[in-house]
C-alpha cells in the first residue's frame, strides 16, 4: 500500500515535464494537463484515504529512493502518510483542481498562460513532496521548489516594477527560512548521527533517549524549525510579506497566499511536534509567536482598506491561532481549522473583485454615516495610536530591513574594495594557498586548519555580500558570488578533509551554471553595453530565450533540487561539526545571500519595466 505514495509525487512531476514542452498557444491542452493531473490526484488521494481507513489507517513510511550514499551520509527520498498528510493532500488537491479550472477561463489569452500553468504544476509537485515527505530531505526539496514557484508567480507580471521588487522581498524571507530548515537538518544529523525520518521522530522512546543529554541542541533545532515555519506562514516578524505577495493573477494569490503555501508552516509544526512537545520553552515560544502574530495581524486586518490585503492579514490571524492549536496538541482542531481557513480565503480571494459591486449596493441601502469619537482622553489616544501603528503595519517592514537586511547590506557595501585588481590577485593567491594546503596534508597543524577554515568561510561570505550589494557590472557580481561559493566550499573541504567527489558534486553544477550564466550576461551586455545593477533593465521583453537560459543557470548555481548542487549543499553541511558555531553561522549566511544575490542579478537584468520606451511600458508605481 505504501508503494502507492510515490505516485502522488510522480504524477505532478510527469505532468510538469509534459506541460513544459507544449507550445505556448495551446491553451486547452496546457490547462487540460493541469486539470487532469490535479483531478486524478484529488480523486486518487480520496480513494486512497478510503482504502487507508478501511485498512485501519496505519501510519505509512517508505524509503523510496537513495539519491546518494556514503558511510556517513545518506540522502534518501522518503514518504510518509498519516492523518495530517491525508488532510493536507486532500485539501491541496481539491483547491488546486478547482483553481486550475477557474484559471483556465480566467487566464484566457494572458501572455503568461503557459507560464502560469507550468508554475502551478511545479508548485503542486513541491506541495505534494512536502505533504507526503517522510524525512527532512524530501520535505526540503519540496520546500525549495515552492519558494522558487512563489518567486515566479509573484513576479508573474515581470514587466512591472512592484511585482519584481516584492518577489525579491518574499524570496529573501523564504530563503532565510530555508536555511534555518537546513540548519535544523544539520543539527538532526549530528544529534542522531544519521538523517532521521519523520517516523523516527514519532518514536517516543527514540526521542526520549536523546533529549535529556542534548536539550540545548534540541532547542536549537526546534527554534530553527520555528523560524522556518514562521517565515513560510508569515508569522511575526515576517508578516508583511504576505500582502505584498498578492502580485500575480488573483487565482495564483488564492492558491498560494490565501491557502496552501501559507499553511505549510503549520504542517511542518505538526510533523515535527513529537520532536519538541516535551520542551516547554519551545512550546511557549510557539504559543507566544502564534498569539502575538494573531493579535497584531488582526489589528492590521481591521484597518486594511483594500480587499486582498485584508484577506491576507485575516488569514495570518487564523494561522497564528492554528500555531497555538498545534502547540497545545489539538491537532485535529488544527487540521479542521486549516481546511476551513484555506477554503474560505481561497474563495474570498477568487471573488475579491466582486466585493466592489456587492458592498456599494449594500451601502446604498444600509449606509449609516460614521460617528467619530471626538474625545481627547488617554483611551482615545491609545486607540488612535494603535490605529496609526496598524496602518503602518506595526513597522514590521522597517524593522526587518533595519535589523535583518541592512547590517548585511552595510557590510557588503564596505567590501567593494575586494573588486580592485590588487584584492583580486590577493584573493587568488589566498585561494591557491588554501587549495595547496589541502593537497599537501602532511604539513598542517590542526590550529592552522581551523584558522584557515574560518578565514575562507568569512572571505566567502564577504564576497557574496559584496556581490549582493553591487550596483555596477552584473558580470562582476556574478563572478563574485561564484568566487564566494568557491571559498565557502574550500573552507569546508579544508575543515573536514572532504572527499573530493563530494566537492566535485557541489562544484559541477556550479561550474556549468557559472559559465553559461556568464555567457548570457555577456550577450546581454552586447545589446546596449549596459548591464549595471543600479536599475531594472527588463531584458526578458527583448531577449526571452536568454532570460530563460540564464534563469536555469541561476537555478544550477543556487542548488535547486534536481541539480547536483542541491545535494552538494547538503553534503557540505554535514561536514561542519556541531562544535563549530561560527563556521556554521558563516556558511548559513553565505547560503542565504548566495541565492538572494543571484536572483537579484536575474531580476535586475531580466525583469522590471523594459528600459527602452519604444513600446508601451508600465508606470513604476503601477
Amino acid at each position: 500500500m505504501s508503494q502507492i505514495l510515490q505516485l502522488f509525487v510522480l504524477l505532478p512531476l510527469l505532468a510538469f515535464l509534459a506541460s513544459m514542452v507544449i507550445s505556448k498557444n495551446k491553451e486547452k491542452l496546457i490547462s487540460g494537463i493541469a486539470i487532469t493531473t490535479t483531478g486524478i490526484h484529488a480523486t486518487g488521494s480520496l480513494i486512497f484515504i478510503v482504502y487507508w481507513i478501511i485498512n485501519g489507517y496505519p501510519v505509512l513510511d517508505i524509503k523510496h529512493l537513495v539519491l546518494y550514499k556514503t558511510a556517513a551520509f545518506e540522502f534518501v527520498i522518503n514518504f510518509y502518510f498519516d492523518k495530517t498528510t491525508a488532510v493536507f493532500a486532500t485539501v491541496g488537491g481539491i483547491i488546486t483542481l478547482l483553481v486550475s479550472i477557474f484559471s483556465r477561463y480566467y487566464l484566457h489569452r494572458d501572455e503568461g498562460f503557459k507560464r502560469f500553468f507550468n508554475t502551478l504544476l511545479l508548485f503542486f509537485l513541491g506541495y505534494s513532496l512536502i505533504v507526503f515527505s517522510g524525512n527532512f530531505e524530501t520535505l526540503f526539496i519540496g520546500w525549495e521548489i515552492l519558494g522558487f514557484c512563489s518567486f515566479l508567480l509573484i513576479a508573474f507580471y515581470r514587466d512591472r516594477y512592484l511585482p519584481v521588487k516584492n518577489a525579491l522581498k518574499v524570496i529573501s524571507i523564504y530563503r532565510l527560512g530555508d536555511v534555518c530548515l537546513m540548519l535544523a537538518m544539520w543539527m538532526c544529523h549530528h544529534l542522531f548521527h544519521a538523517n532521521i525520518t519523520f517516523s523516527q521522530i514519532h518514536d517516543e522512546a527514540f526521542i526520549a533517549d536523546h533529549l535529556p543529554q542534548h536539550t540545548s541542541l534540541f532547542i536549537f533545532t526546534s527554534v530553527m524549525i520555528v523560524v522556518a515555519t514562521a517565515a513560510k506562514s508569515a508569522m511575526l516578524p515576517f508578516s508583511s510579506w504576505l500582502p505584498r505577495a498578492m502580485e500575480g493573477p488573483t487565482t495564483s494569490s488564492a492558491v498560494f497566499y490565501g491557502s496552501l503555501s501559507v499553511h505549510l508552516g503549520a504542517f511542518l509544526l505538526i510533523r515535527t511536534y513529537p520532536f519538541w512537545e516535551n520542551i516547554l520553552v519551545v512550546k511557549l515560544l510557539i504559543i507566544v509567536l502564534g498569539l502575538t502574530s494573531s493579535i497584531i495581524a488582526s489589528s492590521i486586518a481591521r484597518v486594511q482598506s483594500t480587499v486582498k490585503t485584508q484577506i491576507a492579514y485575516s488569514s495570518i490571524t487564523q494561522i497564528g491561532l492554528i500555531f497555538i492549536e498545534v502547540a497545545l496538541g489539538f491537532h485535529t482542531l488544527a487540521l479542521i481549522h486549516f481546511a476551513g481557513n484555506a477554503f474560505l480565503r481561497t474563495y474570498q480571494l477568487l471573488v475579491s473583485p466582486s466585493v466592489l459591486s456587492y458592498e456599494i449596493h449594500d451601502m446604498v441601502f444600509n449606509y449609516k454615516p460614521p460617528i467619530h469619537d471626538q474625545s481627547t482622553g488617554t483611551l482615545q489616544k491609545i486607540k488612535n495610536a494603535i490605529y496609526v501603528l496598524s496602518i503602518k503595519e506595526w513597522n514590521i517592514d522597517w524593522f526587518l530591513y533595519h535589523f535583518l537586511w541592512y547590517p548585511f547590506k552595510w557590510i557588503g557595501s564596505k567590501m567593494h574594495f575586494l573588486g580592485k585588481p590588487v584584492s583580486i590577485i590577493l584573493l587568488a593567491i589566498v585561494f591557491l594557498f588554501g587549495v595547496m594546503s589541502f593537497t599537501n596534508q602532511d604539513g598542517r597543524s590542526l590550529h592552522l586548519e581551523n584558522f584557515l577554515t574560518h578565514v575562507f568561510s568569512l572571505l566567502g561570505l564577504l564576497l557574496v555580500l559584496s556581490s549582493f550589494t553591487k550596483r555596477d557590472d552584473a558580470r562582476r557580481a556574478w563572478l563574485f558570488v561564484i568566487a564566494g561559493q568557491c571559498f565557502v566550499t574550500l573552507s569546508i573541504v579544508i575543515d573536514d578533509n572532504v572527499d573530493l567527489i563530494e566537492a566535485f558534486i557541489y562544484l559541477s553544477g556550479i561550474t556549468v551554471g557559472a559559465v553559461i550564466g556568464y555567457i548570457c550576461l555577456n550577450r546581454i551586455k552586447q545589446v546596449d553595453n549596459d548591464i549595471s545593477l543600479n536599475q531594472f533593465h527588463g531584458y526578458s521583453y527583448e531577449k526571452p530565450k536568454i532570460a530563460f537560459i540564464f534563469l536555469l543557470s541561476c537555478l544550477a548555481l543556487i542548488g535547486f533540487p534536481f541539480t547536483p548542487t542541491f545535494l552538494g549543499i547538503d553534503l557540505l553541511f554535514t561536514h561542519i561539526h556541531r562544535d563549530q558555531p561560527i563556521l556554521v553561522a558563516l556558511t548559513s549566511f553565505s547560503f542565504i545571500f548566495i541565492e538572494i544575490a543571484i536572483l537579484r542579478i536575474y531580476a535586475r537584468i531580466f525583469m522590471g519595466q523594459h528600459k527602452k520606451n519604444n513600446h508601451p511600458i508600465a508606470y513604476r508605481s503601477s
Binding site: N25, L98, S103, Y105, H108, R109, D110, Y157, P163, N166, R244, M246, E247, I295, S298, A301, R302, V303, S305, T306, V307, K308, Q310, A312, S314, T317, Q318, G340, A342, L344, Y347, V351, S352, P353, S354, V355, S357, Y358, E359, H361, M363, V364, F365, P370, H372, Q374, N384, A385, Y387, V388, K392, N613, N614, H615, P616, I617, Y619, R620, S621, S622
Partner: protein, 842 residues
C-alpha cells in the same frame, strides 16, 4: 511654464486639468482620456501628450507595417492619404518612409526629469519611501466600506483630519519630529514646503508635476472627488492641495530620516535649467509617418462602410403597410446587432435608436435606499426625483461577504463553519454558476413589481430640492422631444417598445462601464418605464395631439430592459396593455426571444468558452452562464470595436452587416429641414460616443499608461478603484480584457442631411464644434438627394468618393459567424482579423 515666480493657485489648476479624471468606479463615465489636450488638433495633441507624459499615442510602427502587410491597411487608401497630405508627386517617397525607413521610435518623456535627481544625486528612492504609506493613508481616508476600523479623525478635510489624529495619538505617521512639527504648526503653504524640499522656486512647478504624475491614479482620483464629492456615497472632503502638502511632509520626513539633519534641497544638485513641461512639441518626420499610418488605418475601414452605405442607398426596402410594432433602442452599438435580428425575424416591424435615457432625466431612489441614482447623461443635472415604492421583495445577502471573517474571534468561528460553506460555494461557482446577490444584476436595478412616483402630485411635493415626479406639461415636452428627434411622428404601430439596456456581470469592478452611458453608467430600465408611462398618459396624448403628434388610442408604449451580457429581456407595466395588445405583446416576446437567440449566437463567435456551431438554445444558455461566471473576465466586450455613429434613417444601414460597430441614432431630415432637432441630437455625440471611442482608443494603444492593464491581478481599493497589488497606484482607464477586440480608430459620425445644415449645426456651439474641427471625431454628411458623401475637414465639407466600389454580399449570417475565426493572440495584428469587414446582407 515660464513662471520664475511660483503661483500656487495656477499650478494646482494646471495639475487638475492634466491629471486623469476618472471618478470612483461605482459610476463609470467614459471620457476622452486626453481631454486636457482637446483644444488642439488630434495629432498635435496626442504627440504633445506623448512627449510630455511618455504615452504611446498610436499603434507602434511595426504594427502598422504588419497591418499593411496582411492587407488590413488598404494600399490604395494609403496612397490616397499620402497624396492628399503630401501631394501626388510625393507618394512614392513617403510610402518608402512609411514602409521601410528605419526610425528611432524611443520616446523619452519630459516628465520625471527633476525628481530623478533624488535617485541619481542623493541615492535615495523617494517614491519607495513615501508612496506605500501615502497610498495606504489616502485609501484609508477615502475608503467607502472595506476597512472594519474606519479612519478615526473625522472628515473635515484630509489634512485637518490627519492633524487631529496626530495631535490625539501616542504614535505618529512620521518617523522624524521635523515633519510632524510642521504639520502641527498648521497653516502650511505648498510654497514653503517646496522651499525646503526643492529650494529654487524656478523648479517648483516642474517638481509638483513630476511628483503628482508619479502616481497620477491617486492624484486624479483626489481631484475627481474634490470636484464631485457626490461621486462617493460616504462623502469625503479632500483636495489636491491637501494631498500635495501631506506628500511633501512625508518627503521631508523620509529625507530627514535617510540623510540626517543637514540635507540640501534638491535644486542645489540640479545643474539643468527647469524644463518647460507644457511647451509645444515640433512635429517630427516620425510623427507625420504615424499620422499618415493612423489615417490610412482608419480610412481602410471607413471607406468600406461608405461603399456599403452607397450600395444600400440604391436598394429599396419597401415599408410595410402596417407596422407590427416599433421598438426604440439605445444608440449603443451593442444594440446594433439585436435590432438587425429583430428586423430579420419580423420584417414588418420598425426599430429606432435614441440615447438610452429616452430624454427623461431624473434622480431615482430605490425603495429603502439612502441615496439617489442619477439616470441621465453625466453632464446633465436633473431637477426631478422618482421614488420607488411598494416593493415586496427583500434584498438578499451573501453570507460569505461578511467582514466578520476578518476579525480575531469572528474569523475563528467563521473559518471553522463558513470555511466549509466556502468550499461548497467554490464548487458551485465553477460548475453551476448562477445569479447571486454578489453579482451585479442589471434587472435588480429596479424592481419590476414595485411602483414609481412618475406623476407629480403638486409642485410643493419636493425632496432635497428636487421635484418628485413630472407635471403633465413636463411629460409632454419630453415625449414630444423624443418622438420628434427620432422622426416617429406618424404611422404608429399598436405597440411601441422603449427598450433600455444594462449589463450583468460577475467579479467585475468595471461593471459600470458596461451599463448605459446615457444613464450615467447604469441600466436604463427606469427611464424606459417612465417614458412609457408618460407616453401612455391620456392627458399627455391630448397635449401631444394639440402639438400635432397624433398617437392612436390603440397604440401603447411598453418599457423594457435588454441585458447586453446575458441577452435576456424583461418588460414593465405589461398589465396596462389592452387585451388585443397583450396578445400582440405575447407574440412579440416570442420574436424577441428568437432575435436574442440569434444575437447570442452572433456574439458567441468571440468567446472561446462557447462553441458557436452548437445549437441556438445551447449557445444562448452558455451566454447567460458567462454573465454569472465568477471566472469569466470577459462577460461581454462592452463598447469594444465601436467606430461609427450613424445619424439618419434606418434605411441607410438596414441591409448592412456592421458587426456591432455603429452607434445608430434615428433621425429624419425631412421633419427637420433647418436642423433644429439635429442640434439636440448632435450635442451628446461628442461627449458620449466620442468619449467612449477615445477612451477605448487610448486604452488600446497604451494599455499600461492610459489603460488599467490586465484585470487579473487587480485589487479593489477602498471600493473606489483598482490597483495592482497592495502598494500600487490606482489604475484609471479600461482593462486589457475590454479593449483586446478594439481597433484603435477614431469615431466616424455620418449624418444624413444637407452638408450646409450639418455645418451650421456643429458650428452652433463651440464645445460641440471642437470635437470636429480638431479632428477628435470625423464627420461626414450624406446628401439626402444626391446620396453623395461630404467629408468635413478644416472647416468645410468636401465631396468624398469611396475607393472601394462594392462590398461583398452574404446570404447567411449564421454561416458567417460560425465560420469566423477567433483571434490567435491579442496583438493588434491578430486581433483585428477577428473584426469582420462590412457585408451587404441578402
Amino acid at each position: 511654464m515660464s513662471h520664475q515666480h511660483f503661483d500656487e493657485a495656477h499650478v494646482l489648476h494646471e495639475l487638475k486639468h492634466y491629471l486623469p479624471s476618472q471618478t470612483p468606479l461605482k459610476d463609470f463615465i467614459h471620457h476622452n482620456s486626453l481631454h486636457a489636450f482637446q483644444h488642439m488638433k488630434f495629432f498635435d495633441a496626442i504627440f504633445k501628450a506623448s512627449k510630455i507624459f511618455g504615452f504611446q499615442a498610436t499603434l507602434q510602427l511595426t504594427e502598422f507595417r504588419e497591418l499593411h502587410q496582411i492587407g488590413r491597411i488598404n494600399n490604395e487608401v494609403l496612397e490616397r492619404i499620402i497624396a492628399e497630405k503630401k501631394g501626388v508627386q510625393q507618394v512614392q517617397l513617403w510610402k518608402e518612409k512609411l514602409l521601410h525607413k528605419k526610425y528611432d521610435t524611443h520616446n523619452s518623456p519630459r516628465i520625471g526629469a527633476i525628481r530623478a535627481h533624488w535617485k541619481n544625486e542623493y541615492k535615495i528612492d523617494l517614491d519607495n519611501l513615501v508612496q506605500p504609506l501615502l497610498f495606504r493613508i489616502l485609501c484609508s481616508y477615502l475608503d467607502q466600506g472595506i476597512s472594519i476600523w474606519k479612519f478615526p479623525a473625522g472628515n473635515d478635510g484630509f489634512l485637518s483630519s490627519i492633524t487631529r489624529l496626530e495631535q490625539n495619538s501616542f504614535t505618529s505617521f512620521f518617523k522624524t519630529s521635523r515633519a510632524r512639527q510642521l504639520l502641527l504648526q498648521g497653516n502650511l503653504q505648498i510654497g514653503h514646503l517646496l522651499k525646503t524640499v526643492v529650494g529654487d522656486e524656478a523648479y517648483f512647478e516642474q517638481y509638483l508635476f513630476d511628483q503628482q504624475f508619479s502616481h497620477c491614479g491617486w492624484s486624479g482620483m483626489v481631484c475627481a472627488v474634490e470636484a464631485m464629492p457626490g461621486s462617493l456615497l460616504d462623502r469625503k472632503t479632500i483636495s489636491l492641495h491637501d494631498l500635495i502638502v501631506f506628500e511633501l511632509l512625508l518627503e521631508i520626513d523620509a529625507l530627514e530620516c535617510e540623510l540626517g539633519k543637514n540635507w540640501q534641497p534638491l535644486s542645489s544638485h540640479v545643474k539643468t535649467q527647469p524644463v518647460e513641461l507644457l511647451a509645444g512639441v515640433a512635429p517630427t518626420e516620425l510623427s507625420v509617418v504615424f499620422a499618415l499610418w493612423q489615417e490610412a488605418f482608419e480610412w481602410s475601414y471607413y471607406d468600406q462602410v461608405l461603399a456599403g452605405i452607397s450600395a444600400e442607398k440604391k436598394r429599396e426596402h419597401p415599408a410595410p403597410k402596417q407596422r407590427s410594432f416599433q421598438a426604440m433602442f439605445c444608440i449603443d452599438e451593442r444594440e446594433c446587432s439585436l435590432r438587425r435580428h429583430i428586423e430579420f425575424v419580423d420584417p414588418a416591424c420598425e426599430t429606432l435608436g435614441t440615447p438610452g435615457f429616452f430624454t427623461v432625466e431624473f434622480f431615482m431612489q430605490p425603495q429603502n435606499a439612502k441615496f439617489y441614482d442619477k439616470l441621465c447623461p453625466a453632464p446633465v443635472t436633473p431637477k426631478y426625483l422618482i421614488k420607488e415604492y411598494d416593493v415586496k421583495k427583500e434584498r438578499k445577502h451573501e453570507l460569505l461577504y461578511t467582514n466578520k471573517t476578518h476579525t480575531f474571534f469572528g474569523g475563528f468561528i467563521s473559518t471553522l463553519t463558513l470555511g466549509f460553506l466556502a468550499a461548497v460555494r467554490l464548487v458551485q461557482t465553477i460548475f453551476r454558476p448562477k445569479m447571486s446577490p454578489a453579482i451585479s444584476n442589471a434587472f435588480t436595478h429596479m424592481n419590476k413589481e414595485g411602483k414609481l412616483t412618475i406623476e407629480n402630485k403638486s409642485l410643493e411635493d419636493r425632496e432635497n430640492g428636487l421635484q418628485i415626479g413630472f407635471t403633465i406639461d413636463e411629460m409632454t415636452a419630453r415625449v414630444e422631444g423624443l418622438l420628434r428627434g427620432i422622426g416617429l411622428v406618424k404611422d404608429f404601430a399598436p405597440i411601441v417598445y422603449a427598450i433600455a439596456h444594462g449589463s450583468s456581470s460577475a467579479n467585475n469592478p468595471h461593471h459600470g462601464a458596461h451599463d448605459c452611458g446615457a444613464c450615467s453608467g447604469r441600466p436604463g430600465s427606469v427611464n424606459s418605464r417612465v417614458l412609457s408611462f408618460m407616453a401612455n398618459h391620456p392627458k399627455v396624448r391630448e397635449l401631444l395631439q394639440e402639438r400635432g403628434i397624433v398617437i392612436p388610442t390603440e397604440t401603447q408604449f411598453v418599457g423594457g430592459l435588454h441585458d447586453t451580457a446575458a441577452d435576456q429581456m424583461e418588460f414593465y407595466d405589461e398589465e396596462v396593455l389592452t387585451k388585443e395588445n397583450a396578445e400582440r405583446h405575447k407574440k412579440n416576446i416570442e420574436l424577441f426571444e428568437k432575435a436574442l437567440d440569434l444575437n447570442a449566437k452572433e456574439r458567441s463567435r468571440r468567446f472561446a468558452s462557447i462553441n458557436t456551431k452548437k445549437s441556438l438554445r445551447h449557445v444562448r444558455k452558455e451566454i447567460l452562464k458567462r454573465s454569472v461566471s465568477m471566472f469569466e473576465p470577459r462577460p461581454e466586450l462592452g463598447h469594444g470595436t465601436n467606430t461609427l455613429c450613424i445619424i439618419g434613417s434606418r434605411q441607410l444601414t438596414k441591409g448592412l452587416f456592421l458587426d456591432r460597430r455603429a452607434f445608430l441614432n434615428s433621425y429624419d431630415y425631412k421633419t427637420d429641414p433647418e436642423g433644429k432637432l439635429l442640434t439636440g441630437i448632435m450635442r451628446p455625440i461628442g461627449p458620449v460616443c466620442g468619449g467612449i471611442n477615445l477612451e477605448y482608443y487610448f486604452s488600446r494603444v497604451d494599455n499600461y499608461k492610459l489603460g488599467a492593464g490586465t484585470k487579473l491581478p487587480h485589487n479593489v481599493m477602498g471600493l473606489i478603484g483598482v490597483a495592482n497589488s497592495s502598494d500600487g497606484d490606482l489604475r484609471p482607464g479600461l482593462p486589457l480584457q475590454m479593449i483586446e477586440v478594439h481597433d484603435p480608430v477614431r469615431l466616424m459620425t455620418i449624418v444624413e442631411h444637407y452638408p450646409e445644415v450639418v455645418l451650421k449645426v456643429i458650428q452652433s456651439a463651440p464645445e460641440m464644434y471642437e470635437w470636429y474641427i480638431n479632428e477628435w471625431v470625423h464627420i461626414i454628411a450624406i446628401h439626402p438627394e444626391t446620396h453623395q458623401f461630404f467629408y468635413f475637414k478644416n472647416g468645410v465639407f468636401t465631396q468624398y468618393v469611396p475607393l472601394v466600389k462594392k462590398v461583398n454580399t452574404i446570404n447567411d449570417l449564421i454561416v458567417l459567424v460560425e465560420d469566423a475565426k477567433e483571434m490567435e493572440t491579442n496583438n493588434i495584428v491578430h486581433a483585428t482579423q477577428e473584426n469582420l469587414p462590412v457585408y451587404s446582407l441578402n
